[in-house]
Assembly symmetry: C3
Homo-oligomer: 262 residues x 3
């Protein structure tokens, strides 16, 4: 079994420069989670420089939370640079299925073959072509319902697929994991799911994608558990969560990881 604490050490030692093209709601907290974790985030999305910056970034996060045509173009260009240089990128198809614009953009980005795809059950089902329209950005389906779709999606796209929920499901189409770390308060903080996308990118910049995704999801969920213990609501949860990301040691991570190989 992988030593999950070692995965955290690997990420922190690399301190990877990660480019994030993400929605306005998430930019600040995604950058803060990545800095707390030990990565070097850069929020660079302008057409005039997205591809240039991708050339120096070690990984890329593409999140479609607040879209516009010029940003979609930047996403395509930056992802192409990552592909051309065999560097990893993560797709977060936020609320795909809720509008035609979102679904068609997610499909366009999926065709570019992301290294890792992360979404809630409704998003992964919508992306895989199952008839599933999300209620805005919040999942209306359970993770269980999405597992088969996730596996098919992984196989069809040679990608790692992460389905987030009370118990997360992560698969590369052959090997699958369930991660039980996490807390029920987490969906009550906006853009925390988006931030996980950035953390996955940071891990993926420094290690193989399946291991990276499982380690990132575990680390993030564990920080959520520690934060929930130290907080009295979603407000006090946030500073406690960033503190936990910063203070979790590889030893704590190895000890508290609740990862099941299926």
């Amino acid at each position: 079994m992988t030593n999950w604490g070692d995965c955290l050490t690997t990420m922190r030692t690399g301190a990877p420069l990660v480019q994030n093209i993400t929605n306005y709601v998430s930019m600040n907290i995604m950058a803060n989670t990545m800095l707390a974790a030990g990565a070097s985030p850069a929020m660079v999305h302008a057409n005039e420089e997205a591809a240039d910056f991708a050339a120096i970034a070690q990984a890329l996060t593409v999140n479609i939370g607040t879209l516009s045509e010029p940003w979609v173009q930047s996403m395509v260009e930056a992802a192409t640079v990552m592909n051309d240089n065999a560097k990893p990128w993560v797709l977060d198809p936020v609320a795909t299925g809720a509008t035609t614009f979102r679904s068609s953009t997610a499909a366009q980005l999926l065709a570019l073959k992301p290294t890792i795809i992360k979404g809630n059950a409704s998003e992964i089902m919508a992306l895989s072509g199952a008839t599933a329209a999300g209620k805005g950005v919040d999942a209306v389906h359970g993770v269980d319902a999405a597992e088969a779709h996730a596996t098919a999606l992984a196989q069809a796209n040679t990608a790692v697929v992460v389905v987030t929920g009370p118990v997360d499901f992560i698969t590369d189409g052959q090997t699958s994991y369930r991660v039980s770390n996490g807390d029920a308060l987490m969906p009550r903080i906006t853009a925390l799911g988006c931030s996980l996308g950035g953390i996955i990118s940071a891990f993926a910049a420094t290690q193989p994608p399946l291991q990276a995704a499982v380690a990132a999801v575990t680390y993030f969920g564990l920080a959520g558990e520690l934060a929930a213990e130290a907080s009295t609501g979603p407000g006090s949860f946030q500073p406690a969560f960033l503190d936990a990301l910063y203070n979790i040691t590889p030893e704590i991570m190895s000890e508290c990881a609740q990862v099941e190989l299926i």
Copy 2:
């Protein structure tokens, strides 16, 4: 007299999906206040999808804090969908009067007949045509000075009008209320007023507009009081405020509401 705690229960039970077209400064905290309160916020403003999303949203917030032409178009389209489907929408004319662009956009949106209009005294006076130029986003007039303008604005537009300040004034042109809940630290946190707009939308999605506006303003002000008691400045106020929104029960709300029917 209305049982204000019941209004909170009604909103939380509905857990309404609310679309928000709001400024960049407020997006994160508005979404977080709405999640903490128990609503389901979605920040969707792109031209390609604003109207599509309005079709599934239960209420809409339109905030002109950081404007651009494409966003104004999205605001108009989404508001029109709400009107066509008899769903409520809230206009927050941030800093109207400060620039010609703001004033003309606010007038354009006002003509679309928002269900509820919320602003500080300077904004409401500027919107009602009184000669009042705000100092940026902060009010330079007292609520008292704006009450007659608010009543006239409500009558002329068949809208509920909310004037925020140390004591809030809320009217539909016939019936009026004053709400004394709140704390002096609240204007020291950016976009807290914007966030109130989202909370009003969440209440309005599930109950009549005048009742919704009074209940939302009371709930928000009460959370401010509880947060101020638990904090030592505007920094610690923020997590305490979100915690309070999350932890206020209908019983606390009924007990602590300081609402006066005029």
Copy 3:
């Protein structure tokens, strides 16, 4: 020697209206730091109103963190209004050197003669024409390496130049200071450096630029020290930092300022 506490009093008494054209990541925290400090920030960047608003603002911050062509145009127009009315403006050339778009925009803005230029060592070196490419937004050079470049930049542009780092260096080309206030946690919070730009603008709106820059940097660093004492990581640091900005008195500032005239 200047009484640094008096500089804080001067800024708070003025409560200046400061326009900020800044990146998406920083907007919320920059506004919150400025409100906590006692200034009146306004985030106004749209082409349709940037110049109009500059006419009423007392100072302007221009931060190139997330660029686009229309915003560059707004930056140029607003800066021109400031120059034409002899009002101060601050340039923060975030990550200049990392992409061609950034470098050319920074050069274009530099040609407009900012009152104060603030950057980390890598940014100041890149702006001054030294061959230095930053690693995204984080400095890879020490402050020492940038001091001569900063002095030359100040002389060539009749500007005050601030180089941020563990010990900050501030110069107008003739007189130079080092400020030792600050804490190692500060670079672990995103957009805190950007926020400093807004605080410098607030001070510059009410006093001469060199004194304003030194006082602002000292005040900001001191708040960081107090916040670090009260926190257990970068998450709890943030509310503690805003509380410190709010609670630092002129007496505390005079007593704890670690400013060295070189």
